[in-house]
Amino acid sequence: MRTLRIATAVVSAVGVLTLSACGAADTGKKKEVGGAKSVTLTVPSWVGAQANTAVAAHILEKELGYKVNTKQMGEVLAWDALSKGDIDAIMEDWGHPKEEKQYVETKKTVVNGGDLGVTGHIGWFVPKYFADEHPDVTDYKNLNKYAKEFKTAESGDKGEILEGSPDYVTNDDAIIKNLKLDLKTNYSGSEAAQITAIKKYAKEKKPFLTYWWTPQWLNAQVDMVEVKLPAYKEGCDADPKKVSCAYPNTPLQKFLNADFAKNGGEAAEFLKNFKWTTEQQNEVALMIAGEKMSPEAAAEKWVKANESTWKAWLPKK
């Protein structure tokens, strides 16, 4: 008797489920949060980009009366979410050619939101204390002479170049091979691990060579000098296996969801206008990372002190 009752329950439950599946599901687009004007921004994992988001969110909330939601996720996932409309804007993009082609050019679900005003640059860096002692280390031609200084347990008899997170664009393996350098890459796998290692080396005043970039808040704490690689020329990094030149300067970009860019009103216009300098971004980034302030507090402090800068970003009435 009991078995029968359970069987009936199961059958009816399955039946209800099947019936409910008959209707087409909501694809998740255009969800309003409580009917209020709202904007969703992504928070990338690195501090510079957190500074953009924090300042933009502060002004959107305090000056324009929006409710700002933030979502934290990986860069490629953020592109996908941007295309679907789960988030409205990415404030700092270091170049994702594959995604740009797919979403901006082919599907047209994402549009470029203009320059952020900050220029990114990737390169090889040594600490200043080491470069002061050995000034010729800043040219790649002399790196082999110093390879022994950069040796670790991971690099065997070669010198180690510390690499970062898999997020980052790197041609270093090809560069090492094509320039015939006695170096070996060691992939630290995360920005946090790389920063921890750099801080440790700097504290002990040990020599090291690392893949690094500007703008970055750590540059204000650990002084590093770039090693000159053969100059970048348009297209010299086209074939990933033949690269033997430096990295380009990248003007960082903003990207908006296409629907949002068209119908997002004041918020979309404001985000398109948002443009500041490397120094201004670093100022906020250092408050967050160096002084361990919360992003909101850092943004509030900066906004109070720099009214003339951000007033220009507000939509013209």
Binding site: A81, G189, A192, Q194, A197
Partner: protein, 666 residues
């Protein structure tokens, strides 16, 4: 009792080997191994010169590889192009993801509406009820109170609620699926064997590898995070349910069968109740596994405590990461103590009715929660700002001091930096270089030989095919690099784990002291201790191995302890009366009898070490782990999936060469 065991036909007995005298078993084993070794020697004489002549030495030949990234990227593209229009999405997958979001939202909104006082009261009273109201449960209730209070004090109340909401739904779903799988596997040997590779894959295939496709299909945020968590957390429930069902005392089953109970009745009235302890351990492990996925969930925007940990990482702020990590551990402790207390009460007869038992006790619990609800009207919903404390600065100072002094400051012993360098130079490098130096065909032969020695033709074939698949996927070198790290971590984990397990089984007090530590090791997100580990051991493979050992150790300790405890007291008593010393008892009675549990411990060791290979990639482990992370973060599904599948194949190989085939020898 033991007499009945032997009376039952052997194929119906449980996997616990019949108590054969150790002497005969050993001669039998030696005999078999000797014969096989002889055969293998002959085979080697023929095959090795043949291999050298045909293929020479070196790595896996390029012409034998297949590139799978093309089709994977095509599938990826298809999903992106069709997910808003295709019926498969509109009528099925989107329903799944919307239901997931809605249910987590609903739980969160309920918790939020209850206010902090309501949640606190519910958590504490529920724990108290589970432990049996009255004085016995007071300790459990106090633990629950402390856990919730600290979450609030650390300023993580809201993030904690969001995480609890995700956990409640994920654990419920995982437990349901796990019990269903476990039921089938526990009742049928064939299904059990067929399901084992599936369960292994669910746990070993790194979530990072399938996170990307899940996000594409189900969307960012809750759904992808929830489904990934369920996949990872369900297997322990399934495994332990099956183990419990198989371990049911045959005498009881026999008795209930002779009373005329049908198969279904026997399952419901005898086998399931007898397996309850194991099933609760399974639930407990499922909770732990699910909590360990909290940070991964944050990578796709699910929010909660994981997001706090993850964002603290970008500013290299250990204190802030710890402030978010502690609540994760505390949730685990609260749930663990509650389930364990409920488990302890199983089998104890409850004295009569009374106010503190049965339904009236539940009424009391609900009345308490409702009273707290009324109280919160006066106090407010959110955790008071004034009752929070920021631990970030003192923790960071302590961490700096510790790393500075331990990294190189210890006299004579050198310090962690020196240890990690020597470990890398003298153990890891030779192991890796040796494995890579071996000609590819000789690795296959070696795997086949070992698997055949410990198992059967079938296991040898599976192991060899899995190893060959790694070569075909084109990640031979990287996989051997990873294998060398996994072997080192596994040996460390098993040695430490079994030792600690033996100690815990013998001294109950030690187990109780170790429990919070084990909980913390298993549930504290690796991301929290990643920075201190790098600061202590540098960006090396040694750091990756430490992360793996820390994570895999608790399960090995727990299963070993449980296995040793479950050894039939009669057998122990018998050996004691025959004058066996404590050591003899342990080596010749307890350990052999606990063999199924020990095998499960080895299996879980393999599985968990492999699960952390990916995290190792974040601290300098390189190889497959790095590739998996790279696949997710650069959107290269081919790279990530290939590396993920290679990790599964490694798991399969390791499982086959470490799990002796008991069925044939007994």
């Amino acid at each position: 009792m033991t007499a009945t065991v032997t009376a039952v036909p052997p194929e119906k007995t449980t996997p616990t080997p019949a108590p054969t005298p150790p002497g005969t078993l050993r001669t039998l084993l030696r005999h078999r191994v000797k014969g096989r070794l002889l055969l293998l020697g002959v085979a080697a004489l023929v095959l090795i010169p043949l291999g050298v002549a045909l293929w020479g030495s070196g790595s896996w030949p390029a012409e034998l590889t297949v590139d799978v990234s093309g089709p994977l990227d095509d599938a990826n593209q298809w999903v992106i192009d069709n997910r808003e229009t295709h019926p498969l999405f509109l009528y099925f997958l989107l329903h799944l993801s919307n239901t997931a979001t809605d249910s987590v939202d609903a739980v969160y909104r309920l918790l939020d509406a209850m206010g902090w006082l309501g949640v606190l009261a519910a958590g504490v009273l529920f724990a108290w009820r589970a432990a049996g109201l009255g004085r016995r449960g007071v300790k459990v209730a106090l633990t629950a109170f402390g856990a919730f209070a600290v979450c609030g004090l650390l300023g993580m109340w809201d993030a904690t609620l969001l995480t609890i909401a995700l956990m409640v739904v994920a654990v419920a779903l995982a437990a349901l699926i796990g019990v269903l799988i476990g039921l089938v596997a526990g009742l049928s040997d064939r299904v059990d064997r067929a399901l084992r590779p599936l369960l292994d894959t669910m746990q070993v295939l790194p979530a990072f590898a399938y996170l990307l496709p899940f996000v594409l299909v189900f969307g960012t945020g809750t759904p992808a995070a929830l489904f990934c968590t369920v996949i990872y957390a369900a297997p322990p429930m399934a495994r332990l349910t099956a183990l419990g069902l198989r371990g049911a005392d045959p005498a009881v089953l026999e008795a209930s069968a002779s009373l005329g109970a049908s198969g279904w009745q026997r399952l419901r009235t005898a086998r399931l109740p007898l397996a309850r302890k194991q099933m609760l351990l399974g639930l407990n492990q499922t909770i732990m596994m699910a909590l360990s996925m909290v940070v991964i969930a944050a990578l796709v925007g699910a929010g909660g405590l994981g997001e706090e940990v993850y964002s603290a990482l970008s500013t290299v702020d250990v204190g802030k990461a710890l402030a978010a990590g502690i609540p994760i551990v505390l949730i685990a402790v609260w749930l663990d103590r509650t389930t364990a207390a409920a488990g302890d009460r199983i089998g104890q007869s409850t004295p009569g009715g009374g106010l503190l038992h049965g339904r009236s006790a539940w009424v009391l619990v609900f009345a308490g929660v409702i009273a707290a609800e009324l109280g919160r009207l006066a106090i407010g919903k959110a955790w008071p700002e004034a009752w929070t404390y920021d631990i970030s600065t003192p923790v960071n100072k302590a961490q700096d001091w510790i790393t500075e002094n331990l990294a190189s400051g210890i006299p004579v012993l050198g310090g962690t930096e020196v240890w990690s360098e020597n470990f890398t130079l003298w153990i890891l490098n030779p192991l890796r270089d040796g494995l890579i130096w071996l000609p590819w065909w000789s690795v296959l032969l070696l795997v086949a030989a070992i698997a055949w020695l410990v198992g059967t033709w079938g296991t040898a074939l599976t192991a060899t095919l899995a190893m060959a698949a790694i070569g075909v996927l084109g990640v031979w070198g990287k996989s051997l690099d990873t294998l060398s790290q996994v072997l080192a971590a596994l040996v460390l984990t098993l040695v430490l784990g079994v030792l600690a397990g033996v100690l815990c089984a013998r001294a109950g007090r030690l187990e109780r002291w170790l429990r919070p530590l084990l909980d913390a090791m298993q549930t504290m997100p690796q991301f929290v201790y990643l920075i201190p580990v790098v600061a202590l051991f540098g960006v090396t493979r040694a750091s990756a191995i430490i992360a793996a050992v820390v994570y895999a150790l608790p399960a090995v300790v727990r299963i070993t302890t449980q296995g040793l405890r479950a050894v039939d007291p009669a057998a122990l008593e018998a050996s004691r009366s025959l004058g066996a010393s404590t050591r003899q008892q342990l080596l010749q009675v307890q350990l052999p009898l606990a063999r199924p549990a020990l095998q499960l411990a080895v299996n879980q060791g393999v599985v968990l070490v492999l699960a952390v290979v990916v995290v190792g990639g974040l601290v300098g482990g390189g190889a497959l782990g790095y590739d998996v992370v790279k696949g997710l973060s650069r959107g290269e599904m081919g790279v990530g999936m290939t590396a993920g599948v290679a990790i599964v194949c490694l798991g399969l190989v390791l499982d086959r060469i470490t799990q002796p085939a008991t069925r044939k020898t007994d």
